[in-house]
């Protein structure tokens, strides 16, 4: 057996029976290689560079899609993105936790206290990532709960699984860490914008409208238009602009305050 001879230039993969072993091909991949990153001068500055966004919710709320769209937009505009996801067993109603790290290194996991922004699609899930927040973290939080069915059922069986926490208590526990908390009923706003399924778009609108990210509202929507089917883009347009308005309003309120 021999390898065909018309390999592409630069393809120096060894044949199966080469007499002398040829080193397999180089792994270097251009200017974005790891070495370039390691010698950055800015790396010595204790890091507030880059952007770290956490998106949390429950299965079926579209947190993974939101993270994917964010990644697509940022990559399209030349940013380096690392995005981690953890969704256990892919069950509807389970916790979904994703992170999007922009221009800040290769680790897929955000360390405690280092989130710049949290998009909380659900109150309990938002509170679950409290350890990632600091006084600087901006939190957009949907106040509409998705109550774990197990709570009601166990209370019916008098097994004392506890209650769904009071949403205001959850907001307060987050406010104890950061004053930049913006709770609102995104699920209702999504309904008013056409469909409950646009809640993730509302939250993305908030993030883009806040001006926290290095890309504009228009740039993001161009990406959405490019990667999503037209019908979906249209169905989400109103939700997005409502979300953007919400994000801008919150930022404005904060400046006034």
């Amino acid at each position: 057996m021999t390898r065909s001879s018309d390999n592409q230039p630069g393809d120096n993969r060894p044949g199966p029976r080469s007499e002398t072993p040829v080193a397999p091909p180089s792994r270097r991949c251009g200017e974005h290689g790891r070495d370039a990153r390691a010698t950055e001068d800015s790396a010595r500055v204790p890091s507030r560079q880059g952007w770290r966004v956490v998106i949390v919710g429950t299965g079926g709320q579209g947190a993974l899609t939101a993270a994917r769209l964010l990644c697509d937009c940022l990559v399209e505009h030349g940013h380096d993105v690392v995005s981690g996801q953890l969704h256990g067993m892919a069950q509807r109603g389970g916790s979904v936790h994703t992170s999007v790290k922009v221009d800040c290194g290769i680790s897929p996991v955000i360390a405690s206290g280092r989130a710049d922004c949290v998009l909380g699609f659900e109150p309990v899930e938002t509170a679950r990532v409290l350890p990632l927040m600091s006084a600087k973290t901006v939190v957009y939080m949907n106040t509409a709960p998705v109550i774990p069915f197990i709570l009601g059922q166990q209370s019916a069986l008098k097994k004392g699984a506890g209650q769904y926490p009071d949403v205001q208590d959850l907001v307060d526990s987050i406010r104890a860490v950061t004053s930049h908390v913006f709770p609102f009923d995104a699920t209702r706003l999504a309904q008013d914008s056409g469909s409950i399924k646009t809640m993730n778009t509302i939250m993305l609108g908030c993030l883009l409208g806040s001006g926290l990210l290095p890309r504009t509202v228009e740039e993001f929507w161009q990406t959405v238009t490019r990667v999503m089917p037209p019908a979906l883009t249209e169905a989400n347009a109103e939700a997005f602009s409502n979300g953007v308005e919400m994000g801008r309003k919150f930022r404005l309120d904060e400046v006034v305050r």
Binding site: P16, V109, S112
Partner: protein, 627 residues
Amino acid sequence: MTVGVGREILQNEPGARACLLGNLGIVRGALEAGVQFFSCYPGTPSSEIGDTFARIAKEAGVQFEYSVNEKIAVEVAFGASLAGARSMCAMKHLGLSYANDPISTMPYVGVEGGMVIVSAGDPAVITSPNEQDQRHFSRLLYYPIFDPATPDDAMQMTRYAFGLSETTRLPVILRPTTRVCHSNGMMTFGPLPSARNEIRFTKNPPRYVPIPVNARRMRKELTQRYRQAEELLATSEFFPRTGSGRHGIVASGVAYAYAAQVIENLGLQDEVVLQQVGAYPIPEQVLERFLASVDSVLVVEELTPVVEEWVSLSAFRQHRDIPILGKHSGHLPLEFEYTPDLVEDAIREYLHLDKRERGSVTVPDLPSRPPVLCPGCPHRTSFYLAGKVFGKKTVYCNDIGCYTLGYGDPLNACDVLLCMGSSITQASGIARMTGDRVVAYIGDSTFFHSGLPALANAVQADDNITVIILDNYITAMTGFQPSLTTPPRPARDAGRTESPAAARFSIEDAVRGLGVKDVFSVDQFDEATTLKVFKEAKAATGVSVVICHSPCAVDRRRANRDKKRPAFTIDQDLCNACSLCVRVLGCPGILVEDGQYSIDQELCDGCAVCASVCVQGAIRPAVSVKT
């Protein structure tokens, strides 16, 4: 909004930058290396590799199969390699153990076309019954093993591994972990090859038949080839060393990404030399150079101290009597995944830096969201009805799949669990010693995976067991891969390869062929018949088998988007809040708020089982159907 996975992975634009899932990076790396054959058995966190190949195989000109189990996946891929093809197979860590038999002899025989086995690890047992460290296979069985830290690593290592495999004739293992498989990271595409290996099997029995006379010769060659792999790895770029200073940190896997990030964040580049270990065997000269430059070492790696012991041994050989810290010294734990915080704490302790202040964040008590069988799941019905017939005292052996969620209240359908196919065999052992009839639950995919020999074994011993095969026509837990009983369906995607043999398989025929006399088939949503059948199976002597056929509720809706069954509702005038439906079914579609019972109209799949459970007759279709 939902985004599908595009076919950008097939684009031939060298230099294109993409942000891809680690598992997709592995696919891209294999395509760039000219992979010609791919097989897999799905298992989290490896499944997206096979699912992506399933979509693109036709277009990419790759022979593809979802194999019946991992041992078979490896053997078929090895056969393809002997015919000259660059071949790959993918599985989770447990699958590699299942394939241990062929894997242990393959390095002796050696490959022709380069062969890469992806075995995805699950530190922290997120979706597995154990965590294990496949890196030990390197010394145990003479495998070069790659240990990527990032999705980019995963792509580049895959691309490189095929060449290394062909040069050394050793099959190669790629061992990504959950955080690499399921993270999106930046990578740069290389060119797709214009030519691929020629396919031809040349007869040469002494080369391919490891009978002792040949195996002894092969064993000698193996030592040489493993050494050759070490030499080639020494010249590779998978052992980058950065920074300067007299402190050294060696790190592997995703823990390397954490260590690099901590060093960058704390600005320690002039105090610490960071050495990545990206593959095994770790070339001696890499460690020599590293150890010569530092006065102490901290090793940062998840799971067992493979690198730590390798480095310690190397230091001993070089008479370098310096502190080598890590797991033995208590800086880092032996168990579970590491986190950036854990790694930062260890590095600070190692460098005698102040502990990081992490303000006092109090997280309130939060309810958890444990995984649960979906509304409309046929498994719930099987467990409920079998429980009625076999009772609380019967031992229920369960197996690997969605049906493991029968564990605990209210279904209590899982008293024993071990590994793929073990429900039948464990039931045999328990039944033989206790003399009581034992029930074994197993799904369709798992039954063909390893249940067949287990059942033959039970028949030959005439064990007093009832095997309930839960045939939902799909491998649901890992993401709806086809099983042998999946009926042919219109391809969801143009490039998707459908098995022409699909639906040719009859579990009934297989079971009868293995000598089982009492074989029953039933749709478990036909409650009366199912109860009758379970009673007959219970009354049988020796092995009895009940096959419950009903499609996975979620897959049924995915396959026919418009055919959601009408939801049910609870008539508040009739409901007396007796809690029976909740006590026996535990369906997430049934909501209880302030003592009031209702059904979530979006979640309800209309399976109607709760309606038959309700003694008040309070549960009815939400929309009355005209008759």
